[in-house]
């Protein structure tokens, strides 16, 4: 049956408006999509009623059985030091202050910041103690900077072998959020919104929060939660901690909710009159969006109102969570968002770029995030949401084993280090309590099981999600995924 005759059948059906809507939807879908749509994804997406907008199950029409329904991405902007948090290297203590051996660097280009240091590249062990914590695998070393997170390592998959090719923040963070070092592509959240839609008709698909920090650098960019070439509706919505939580959410002074209701009723009547005359389905779409906005005017304040949470919850997250805009508050909001069906939540925490003065800065940073991270995992787990929610933690690159600037055991800095760093994932079908991958004894290169340095061979088949969240070194992608995903 060709396109034309099917359309005619529908046009002649009992409800011409409905028929036209169906036809137009399909055509507009093909017309508006910047890319060709995979039929499998489309079947799942458009299975829902045009006007009813029932939420779709994530596995409908997809290639694989999905485990995660939500993602919470805790992004540590600036590049946290794996040496001081997750990747314990006693070798550095042995060789404290000595030059990084040439064979370890193996000719890798250095940044302009460390290439010409008068003191060369002195190795800098972490000043912090590491403890080996038990998990469901061979245990994992965690530094004293993360006491709370250390308690939940049996839920985490700690990945030591994350790496990237970008050396500086802008390309590195753009790469990890959009899959390309060059701006212009949609963000991960936009892809998820486009591919999987929303589970909640009253809240946006994709929410972004910025957590407070004492070290407000490096800059962030709209494109990190942007849509690139895709329609603007997939853009991440900022949930702000001061003023209106969502831009333009509140009615202006002198306009009540009842006024807005009366206005929207009048608007719908005008739009319907237009629709009857012009039969443009965009009008109906606009009416729906006005109604969603009206619902958001109550659903968002309800979301942000933490008074319903018990003191026990604040004990879990820390009292910080009572202050809007802190990382802990963002984590609590993230749990609430996921509870309400929001698919993709990202929290950006700036300030990890410790070129100098690392101990003071990282101590402050960890104090910001540690309890919140652990609380989020525990909270999701006890609410039964952890199985459906993929939680990801990490930055855009790691930090060097050598010191940037003058080295002293109690104070040092580290430069950018893309070749290896640590991230962790939890929930959403990830095997709990394991570690994956390792680095060499200097924490400088990826390493095989014997500790011999490996050159990263990025898999060409890695999917966008893997590319965006972390680039995991693995010779055998199937083995890698099998290792970290709980079948």
């Amino acid at each position: 049956m060709n396109h034309a005759s099917r359309s005619t059948d529908l046009l002649n059906s009992a409800d011409p408006r409905r028929a036209l809507e169906l036809t137009t939807t399909r055509r507009q879908l093909f017309g508006k999509a910047a890319l060709g749509l995979g039929t499998a994804a489309m079947a799942g997406l458009w299975g829902r009623d045009l006007l009813g907008g029932a939420a779709s199950e994530p596995s409908e029409g997809l290639h694989h059985a999905a485990r995660a329904k939500h993602v919470i991405y805790l992004f540590m902007s600036g590049g946290p030091s794996h040496h001081d948090l997750w990747d314990y290297k006693p070798k550095l203590k042995e060789m404290a202050g000595e030059q990084l051996p040439d064979h370890v660097r193996d000719g890798q280009r250095l940044t302009g910041m460390s290439a010409n240091q008068s003191n060369g590249l002195p190795l800098a062990p972490s000043k912090y103690n590491f403890t080996k914590r038990e998990n469901n695998d061979r245990g994992v070393w965690v530094s004293d900077l993360l006491p709370h997170t250390a308690e939940v390592v049996d839920e985490l998959c700690v990945i030591h072998s994350t790496f990237t090719e970008a050396i500086n923040h802008d390309p590195a963070i753009t790469y990890i959020q959009t899959g390309s070092q060059v701006p212009g592509r949609p963000s991960l959240g936009a892809w998820l919104s486009y591919g999987l839609g929303s589970m909640n008709e009253n809240l946006p698909h994709y929410v972004v929060m910025h957590a407070r920090t004492n070290y407000a650098e490096q800059s962030l960019f709209n494109r990190l939660w942007g849509t690139g070439f895709m329609p603007a509706e997939h853009q991440g919505m900022l949930l702000r901690s001061s003023g209106d939580p969502v831009l333009y959410l509140s009615n202006p002074a002198g306009v009540s909710r009842q006024d807005r209701r009366a206005q929207l009723d009048a608007l719908a009547a005008l739009d319907e009159a237009q629709h009857e005359q012009f039969a443009d389905p965009e009008v109906l779409s606009r009416i729906r969006q006005h109604e969603m906005a009206y619902r958001m005017q109550t659903s968002v304040p309800e979301l942000m109102d933490l008074s319903a949470e018990t003191q026990e919850v604040f004990d879990l997250y820390g009292d910080d969570a009572k202050t809007p805009g802190t990382f802990a508050a963002c984590c609590l909001n993230a749990r609430r968002l996921v509870e309400r069906g929001v698919r993709n939540v990202q929290i950006f925490h700036r300030g990890w770029d410790a070129h100098g003065n690392l101990p003071a800065e990282h101590e402050s940073q960890c104090k910001d995030i540690d309890q919140g991270c652990a609380a989020l995992i525990k909270d999701l787990k006890r609410s039964g949401l952890l199985d459906d929610t993929l939680v990801v933690w990490g930055g855009e690159f790691g930090r060097t084993a050598y010191c940037q600037g003058g080295y002293r055991p109690e104070n040092y800095g580290r430069d950018h280090h893309p070749r290896c760093f640590t991230t962790w994932m939890a929930g959403g079908g990830i095997k709990p309590g394991i570690t994956y991958g390792r680095t060499d004894e200097f924490g400088y290169n990826l390493a095989d099981d014997e500790g011999n340095p490996l050159t990263p061979q990025p898999s060409r088949r890695r999917g966008l999600v893997a590319r965006c969240i972390s680039t995991i070194e693995c010779h055998d992608p199937a083995h890698c995924l099998a290792s970290i995903i709980d079948a």
Binding site: T8, Q28, E217, N222, F229, A232, M237, L247, G254
Partner: protein, 375 residues
């Protein structure tokens, strides 16, 4: 002699482009990997290998001038076709080639190739007169058609142009039309970018501490009402009233915008400070220019839609007006609060409750199709 002196005087005021200033072929040194110290041997200007054979023949030098001559020659249809397609897209909502970002064999074929070519030749022969071409398009029979969908035709995307265009205005147009309707628009051309109202803290949340665009200081006076073309554009944090309405962030080229309908747009149309100000200015204008509600409604629809309201639209508007009048009679404080939004001067002679009621109505009409669409 006089001519030489005059020319020298000119050159000292107006910078001469390199191609014109130098009469001899220049040699360029290539900086290897961008390093300023490491230079390769000199190269002569040349066009890309793929164009070399085309940019050949008399009068075509193997340099940018030659390339420019070839691109604009009568034998080369590409530039004119692309320009026509772009202009057609702006006028009709869709180009004759619907994939301007892939203009060529990899994209859509033109729906009307003969028309495209005819217009392309016409543009060139008129002396590349874009204004004339635009006038030609908007005075054409095609453009003047009604945009009601024709149920008897299976052409929902209007590829056959059996009806007139109908599309939502770009972000910039939307703001400009609103300002114009309220007699707020400052038509002054040129000059510095301007900063309209913006929610607090948007820039500082993202900025580097050393950034000189850390803090957003909004403008005052007539600068608030200049055309949106002049809105200051920080690409990593563009003005939300632009991006919410599908303006691209300009970090990469965009030749075709999406046109979306989102809840954020709804919130923006009703709650954003300048939209409220615009509604108040429109209401003010209507109240000052006429005493009669019906006449006021007529003027509103005439200015936004170039037509009178239908009876149905009139009924809906008057009903809302009645509701709002009652509402603000009972709460003059709320009326005062509403009409105080924005810096634009308020006509003190108008009763506050009446102004508030009409502001509410104007907001609704501006958020309906007549305020949003070209149709």
């Amino acid at each position: 002699m006089e001519l030489t002196l005059a020319r020298q005087r000119c050159s000292s005021i107006v910078p001469q482009p390199t191609l014109v200033a130098r009469g001899f072929p220049i040699r360029v040194q290539l900086a290897c990997y961008g390093g300023w110290r490491i230079r390769s041997s000199g190269r002569r200007p040349c066009v890309a290998r793929c164009s070399r054979r085309s940019v050949a023949g008399p009068g075509c030098s193997q340099n940018r001038l030659g390339l420019a001559s070839w691109l604009t020659s009568a034998e080369n249809p590409l530039v004119t076709r692309v320009l026509i397609n772009s202009l057609w897209q702006r006028t009709f909502g869709h180009g004759l080639v619907r994939t301007p970002e892939d203009f060529g064999l990899q994209g859509d074929q033109p729906t009307h190739p003969e028309l495209l070519d005819w217009l392309a030749v016409d543009l060139r022969e008129s002396g590349w007169d874009m204004k004339r071409m635009l006038r030609q398009m908007v005075t054409s029979r095609v453009f003047k058609q009604e945009s009601r969908r024709r149920e008897e035709l299976d052409d929902p995307e209007n590829r056959l142009y059996a009806r007139g265009p109908r599309y939502r205005m770009d972000a910039e147009m939307l703001r400009d039309i609103g300002l114009w309707a309220g007699d707020l628009l400052d038509p002054h051309m040129g000059g510095e970018g301007v900063k309209p109202y913006q929610p607090d803290g948007m820039w500082i949340a993202l900025a580097h501490p050393a950034s000189n665009t850390k803090r957003y200081e909004r403008d005052h006076g007539s600068l608030l009402y200049r055309r949106s073309l002049y809105v200051y554009w920080k690409r990593t944090s563009p003005h939300p009233m632009m991006t919410i309405f599908d303006a691209p962030d300009r970090e990469s080229s965009c030749v075709r915008r999406t046109r979306t309908n989102t809840a954020l747009q709804s919130l923006a149309l009703f709650n954003e400070t300048q939209r409220v100000e615009i509604a108040r200015a429109v209401a003010q204008k209507l109240l000052l220019e006429s005493d009669d509600d019906h006449e006021r409604l007529d003027r509103l629809y005439q200015s936004l839609a170039c037509r009178l309201p239908t009876d149905r639209e009139r009924g809906i508007c008057l009903q809302l007006l009645t509701q709002m009048r009652e509402r603000y009679e009972q709460a003059p404080g709320d009326a005062e609060a509403l009409v105080s939004a924005g810096d634009a001067p308020r006509a003190e002679s108008l009763p506050v409750q009446e102004l508030a009621a009409w502001t509410q109505l104007a907001t609704v009409v501006l958020a309906s199709d007549v305020g949003l669409m070209v149709y």
